[in-house]
Symmetry: C2
């Protein structure tokens, strides 16, 4: 009576082995497994991996594999394949499932309709609990993901209540289902975005939500296990955008060279073209630089400090927006906080910058000439200005993008840094012109 005990370690080992395989090796391994083990493996794979295996199967074998899947999983698998293969794959399904799968494929992948399973345990309110129990027990396990709960719908498929299998068993068998069910059910619209659904799961501690269309008709259920993947995906997208690339939409190691270069090259080029403005901006101050080369030495230090402060602010605000902690109407509150934070941080760096020049000069490490104190004051003031400005730009940009209907995560950290580089130069050289007028300049 020892459990066969798949420990978590076994699952990870298998997964690690699997991900180290090439596509050919994976298929050979899959084909060599006895049918029951192959089925277990097939269920655990991602839709992308399932599609890869389907592509390699002999035509007569495909049918038996795709029919194993729940309609929502079959729809995901088919959507991983090219449009030209959709028709062939749909035709492998029996008519009822084919209709369900086609209906699911009509929804966008990232809304409730595209995530839901159209199979769920369904009861009529007027059934007796005794009938309900034996009806539910006849439904095979494959037919309903969450048999522990049954949804009560009327003749128009409108959702009227929810009942647990356990409450049915506890009731006397002659009571109608409507007497045992709860009518306080949280429903989600079939068009609700997956990110909102994930917040709803966080906020309610429920395991599944019924999905209803505009007319209140029940269309399926979304379960929390589908949402864990969604949460991972959304975070990955945000992280990749923040890092200054387009979202890869595929695992890093499986992204081929050309799409990889496209997704990174596009943004890199935009950033490069914007950053060219720094050369233009510095061109304006060419004479000042020629007269006081010392000014050029601090350019990278000053502008990168603004960029770093901006990256911090934009990252914090974008994440807070994604988690729903910050909304559009919080803009002035956030701007106030960030301005104060930016000035404090700027003073901090300004003091360090000031000391650096004074100390280096005093110990003769780098001689800045007789006007070193003026240079130190220039650096001090510039750092306050640039850091405060970078912070406020980084904090406000996500609000502007969101108000325009764009994903706030488009304000990637390199983008904010680039914006702040150009304006930072102007702040720096303007401060220098004022401070050093009549002495160095």
């Amino acid at each position: 009576m020892e459990p066969k005990g798949t420990t978590a370690e076994n699952v990870f080992q298998l997964q690690e082995l699997w991900s180290a395989f090439s596509d050919d090796q994976r298929f050979a391994y899959f084909s060599a497994l006895p049918r029951d083990q192959a089925e277990d493996l097939f269920f655990d794979l991602s839709s992308e991996e399932q599609a890869e295996i389907m592509r390699r199967l002999a035509p007569q074998e495909k049918r038996s594999w795709i029919r194993l899947l729940e309609p929502d999983d079959a729809a995901d698998l088919i959507q991983e394949c090219s449009k030209s293969e959709h028709h062939e794959l749909l035709n492998l399904l029996d008519i009822a499932t084919r209709n369900e799968v086609s209906a699911l494929m009509a929804y966008a992948e990232d809304v409730a309709g595209g995530l839901m399973n159209p199979h769920y345990a369904r009861l009529r309110p007027e059934l007796s609990t005794g009938e309900a129990i034996s009806y539910l027990q006849r439904q095979s396990r494959e037919q309903a993901e969450l048999i522990s709960y049954a949804y009560v719908v009327d003749v128009d498929q409108k959702l009227v209540g929810l009942v647990s299998f356990r409450d049915l068993c506890a009731a006397s068998t002659t009571q109608p289902v409507s007497a045992v069910m709860t009518t306080d059910v949280i429903t989600v619209s079939d068009q609700m975005d997956q990110e909102q659904i994930s917040h709803l799961f966080s906020e309610t501690d429920l395991m599944a939500f019924p999905v209803v269309d505009e007319q209140g008709r029940m269309k399926g259920i979304v379960t929390i296990d589908d949402i864990v993947d969604v949460v991972h995906e959304e975070a990955t997208e945000d992280i990749q955008k923040l890092g200054g690339t387009e979202a890869l939409d595929a695992p890093y190691m499986r992204t081929k060279m050309i799409p990889m270069v496209q997704k990174r090259g596009g943004w890199l080029l935009i950033l490069f073209l914007s950053e060219m403005l720094t050369a233009t901006a510095m061109g304006f101050y060419e004479k000042e630089i020629a007269r006081a080369v010392v000014l050029a030495l601090f350019v990278p230090l000053i502008i990168s400090s603004g960029g770093n402060a901006g990256s911090q602010a934009t990252t914090l605000v974008i994440r807070a927006m994604a988690l729903g902690e910050v909304n559009l109407r919080d803009i002035w509150k956030v701007a106030g906080r960030e301005l104060a934070t930016g000035i404090i941080l700027g003073c901090m760096l300004g003091i360090v910058g000031f000391l650096r020049i004074v100390v280096w000069q005093t110990f003769g490490l780098t001689p800045y000439g007789p006007h070193y104190l003026l240079i130190a004051i220039t650096i001090f003031c510039s750092l306050i200005g640039v850091v405060a400005w970078g912070t406020i730009v980084g904090a406000i940009l996500p609000f502007i993008l969101r108000a325009c209907g764009t994903d706030p995560a488009t304000a990637s950290t390199p983008f904010v840094a680039t914006l702040v580089d150009v304006t930072g130069l102007v702040i720096y050289f303007t401060t220098a012109s004022i401070m050093l007028h009549g002495t160095l300049l």
Copy 2:
């Protein structure tokens, strides 16, 4: 028979209202609610918010509220309070719960033991299914999170199997539980890290895992709804670190000014001190700059391109590591890919940079002098070198950090940018010395 129907919109509205309230307003609102609604609200709040309410309750009221919570939730609430309050709060619990909660608090918050619920439906293998059903029905709903599954343990509390409530009902009532249960159960160790548990949920489509200690004794269950929050938290931490701050560990809007400045200022200062090396590096080339001021104009453009390319690479690699797509042993594969990508991207930017100079010169927008072609070639070669170098540094750094046992996300994008700024300057000025030797320099 219309459902009272809390729609998802209601949940969000309530949540939005709640988060717009100040702490005082929240407590006033909470106190004004009738007990049953207040209880519903209390269950939906985060541990931090529950702790805030507990702090404001009259001493005699605290007991009735903390006793509503499951042991794992009570432990989370207590851990949100300061150490000095722990003893008082623990004493509000009855002895059995107090022992359970203390046991949970002994675990780190981010391992299975700290996440698990010690209450679960527990059966003996020798019980008849009939006895098992009536036993489970007597256990109140509050006593076991997932009553749809019961765990079968022997006299030593060792896990021997798992049985669904539904399978119990389907069996004849005289069969022993051991004949109906499945022995193929995936268990997790009480020391397993929460990030690994979240991967396990993604890979298996299960809703709960039994948690066992080193001796194989069952200690509790972790359920998938706890993991959704974990996945959000882990992503938030990674995003904040990538943006160059310490993880805030609290919602943005509720982080007070001093911790906010500390968490950002520390990194900003480290970055600033490292970036000071750019001033030193540029100091070495002061003579070259004085002779050819034009070189200084391109400094921000060149070094930021390296920084941006590095940010992209480091972000992609860190996320792939967090998702388990890339492991330490993949370092050479990743390095190869990134070197190739970096060279392609560098050539792309190099060509644009080259054209910029030639076009601006030809149309007289900025006159770069008779040696403009040499300058253009210097920019072209430097960009290839800096972008390829930035890419490879950004890609390798997370591997090095991980090999040292540090969180790879410490390689924030500003950190990579800073590293690349200093080395980028050296690449740029070395290329310039070679290219322009005998002409401009």
